[in-house]
């Protein structure tokens, strides 16, 4: 049983069930439910990107919300101007890749809390630009009526169609991240997190990988923004204030930084849970904040860490019970042998 819980087959089964659920679910949900689950996926993608920077490469960033914003504005403005969606989508990612690369430079000079504050300052600056540069971003009024794409004759204008489109894009992006993590790149990121000096002495170009970690994480944030824009069809600068960056940071840590599925779980606690806990109403955030504090106290590795701990606890119990059974059996053997020798 315990072995099954950690086995590949189990993970595969859960994954397959989840996918089937996500494909079948829309036929039972109302448009609001669809919107909610699509929101969850978009947030999960943004958190996946941050997880790459923070969880794997160990570079703290409080600017992921800003990249979602940049991506959303880029896609929103381009599609409103009549540019086909795929091009706008790619541009969002490329733009965020470039800006993320530049934001990575401070990380070469400073670490930890200093880096946190540089990225925090960047996030606030981006917000101010979105709010104040009316000629570009329409200021506090935001962007409205962002069109949903028509791809190869598939019009995603309806809620259900767009849901499937989001599911498809999320799967592709998640696969890319999964591939990056498993590739030598991912290993280099982890080396950077665990011990930068050692990584450097082993021939990892830490400079390049630090910048890369920022750029890749940011570009995935940008893609999330590119999905967000046609999903909500209306947004304003406040959607991408510092709060979003902090939320995404919480998602990654609460889910489990440095694990692939952590961001999905973290995003669920931020996006889906409040809706299911409607009874708690206005008190949801208070309860959530308390739960986060308690979780951090007892299990700083997040919900995934909590699950792993539970499984290893079960396994240890099993091993120790097996051992004691074995010891008992051996003891009986020994007693028998001794008895034999004595005679």
């Amino acid at each position: 049983m315990m072995d099954f819980l950690t086995s590949r087959a189990f993970k595969g089964t859960v994954f397959a069930l989840l996918m089937v659920g996500l494909i079948v679910l829309p036929f039972f949900l109302r448009p609001f439910g669809l919107l909610l689950i699509a929101m969850w996926m978009v947030h999960a993608v943004a958190a996946l990107g941050l997880n790459l920077t923070l969880g794997y490469a160990g570079q703290i960033s409080m600017a992921q919300g800003a990249f979602v914003g940049i991506g959303a504005y880029c896609t929103g403005l381009m599609t409103l101007a009549g540019v086909p969606y795929p091009i706008a989508f790619l541009c969002s990612g490329v733009l965020c890749f470039g800006i993320g690369w530049i934001l990575g430079y401070p990380a070469l000079r400073v670490q930890h809390h200093y880096l946190a504050f540089v990225t925090l300052a960047f996030s606030t600056l981006v917000f101010l630009i979105m709010r104040n540069e009316e000629w570009l971003t329409n200021g506090i009024y935001g962007l409205t009526d962002i069109p949903r794409p028509i791809l190869f004759g598939w019009n995603t204008g309806k809620a259900q169609d767009f849901y499937f489109f989001t599911l498809l894009m999320t799967s592709i992006l998640a696969f890319c991240v999964w591939w990056i993590i498993r590739s030598p790149w991912g290993r280099a990121f982890v080396a950077l997190r665990e011990n930068p000096v050692r990584a450097l002495s082993l021939g990892v170009d830490t400079r390049r990988y630090t910048l890369m970690a920022f750029a890749m994480g940011s570009s995935i944030g940008g893609f999330a923004g590119a999905l967000y824009a046609p999903l909500v069809q209306f947004f304003e600068p406040n959607s991408f204030s510092l709060t979003l960056s902090l939320k995404l940071l919480l998602m990654v840590i609460v889910g489990g930084a440095g694990t692939f599925f952590g961001p999905f779980i973290g995003a669920a606690t931020e996006v889906l849970l409040p809706e299911w806990l409607r009874i708690a109403q206005g008190y949801y955030l208070i309860i959530y904040a308390m739960l986060v504090m308690i979780l951090m106290m007892f299990c700083p590795t997040g919900i995934i860490g909590l699950g792993e701990r539970f499984i290893s606890h079960l396994r240890q119990k099993k091993i120790s019970s097996e051992r004691s059974a074995q010891a008992e059996a051996m003891g009986q053997d020994k007693a028998g042998n001794n008895g034999g020798a004595g005679q």
């Binding site: 401070p106 200093y114 504050f117 540089v118 986060v292």
Partner: protein, 292 residues
């Protein structure tokens, strides 16, 4: 010129409040590696302690202030350290950062849900009058804030450098293991810094709430200002945080008037980025050794 003096003095007053908050922020970082993301909310809360005391206990303003200071010491000092920081220290910096972010959400929402989401008028400690100096109109509030903040800073300085207790606290901040070997009760010293922080934020709260009005979102800007002040001045020096706070207050005010009111909030951030890239140890700070 008169306008400039006016802006400068009111900037100094705001800066003095930032400085108090930044000093507390920095003391926590030094003695216990706590980056308190709830520091802004810590400044927001004591004003609501006062309002709560007046509303629920029905006491006058000054007794309410006394109760608020006591509550700050107990909740923002003692309880914060015991319930949140102590259990988290062994996990390292990041989980504690997350925990204080959660705490800031908690405090904000608690005020919003259990008191009010509207800005509340808050009585000033002295009556507000306009003083005329060199043709400039200066609020008595500004002068009062500057005096109180200076007194607080001088007192803190006297405590840290002039007394045995203060030396012991500095030793704790610089090297806890050696301090422990020397027989300094490190745990108690760390507790004292948390209490000092609680006092400083309570003081800042009482002075800034009459100006900004007491609102649950006040902490957002104040917390950010405190971080910036601490980093710009230098993370490892009390005087650094003070200089940082004052510079920040003045620059913010002048920038709003002479450069761009819309980007008022951006100037300190740009200052922050420039300082971090050019002098990460801050304007007044010493470079910290890098550990491998």
């Amino acid at each position: 010129m008169a306008a400039f003096i006016q802006l400068f003095v009111s900037g100094l007053a705001t800066g003095a409040i930032y400085a108090l908050v930044a000093v507390g922020f920095m003391l926590l970082w030094q003695t216990s590696q706590t980056i308190n993301f709830a520091q802004g909310e810590f400044v927001m809360i004591p004003a609501f302690f006062v309002l709560w005391a007046i509303k629920i206990l029905g006491v006058g303003f000054w007794p309410a202030v006394g109760i608020a200071v006591l509550a700050s010491l107990l909740i923002l000092g003692l309880l914060f350290k015991r319930a949140i920081v102590d259990p988290m220290l062994k996990h390292g910096v990041l989980p504690l950062v997350i925990s204080t972010i959660a705490l800031s959400i908690f405090l904000k929402e608690a005020v919003k849900d259990f008191y009010s989401s509207q800005a509340q008028p808050f009585q000033a400690m002295i009556p507000s009058e306009d003083l005329h100096l060199f043709g400039a109109v200066i609020s008595s509030q500004s002068i009062f804030i500057l005096l109180i903040a200076s007194a607080a800073v001088l007192g803190l300085n006297k405590l840290l450098n002039g007394t045995r207790l203060g030396r012991a606290m500095q030793a704790t901040a610089q090297n806890p293991s050696v301090a422990r070997i020397l027989g300094i009760p490190v745990e108690r010293m760390i507790m004292y810094t948390f209490l000092i922080n609680a006092l400083l934020v309570a003081l800042a709260s009482l002075m800034i709430s009459p100006i900004y009005l007491a609102k649950f979102t006040n902490g957002d800007t104040l917390g950010l200002a405190a971080f910036i002040a601490a980093i710009v001045g230098g993370f490892n020096q009390v005087r650094g945080a003070i200089v940082g706070g004052l510079i920040l207050g003045v620059i913010e005010n002048l920038a709003a008037a002479y450069i761009s009111a819309q980007y008022r909030g951006a100037i300190p951030l740009i200052l922050l980025i420039v300082v971090i890239l050019w002098r990460p140890q801050g304007l007044m700070g010493r470079a910290e050794e890098r550990t491998v």
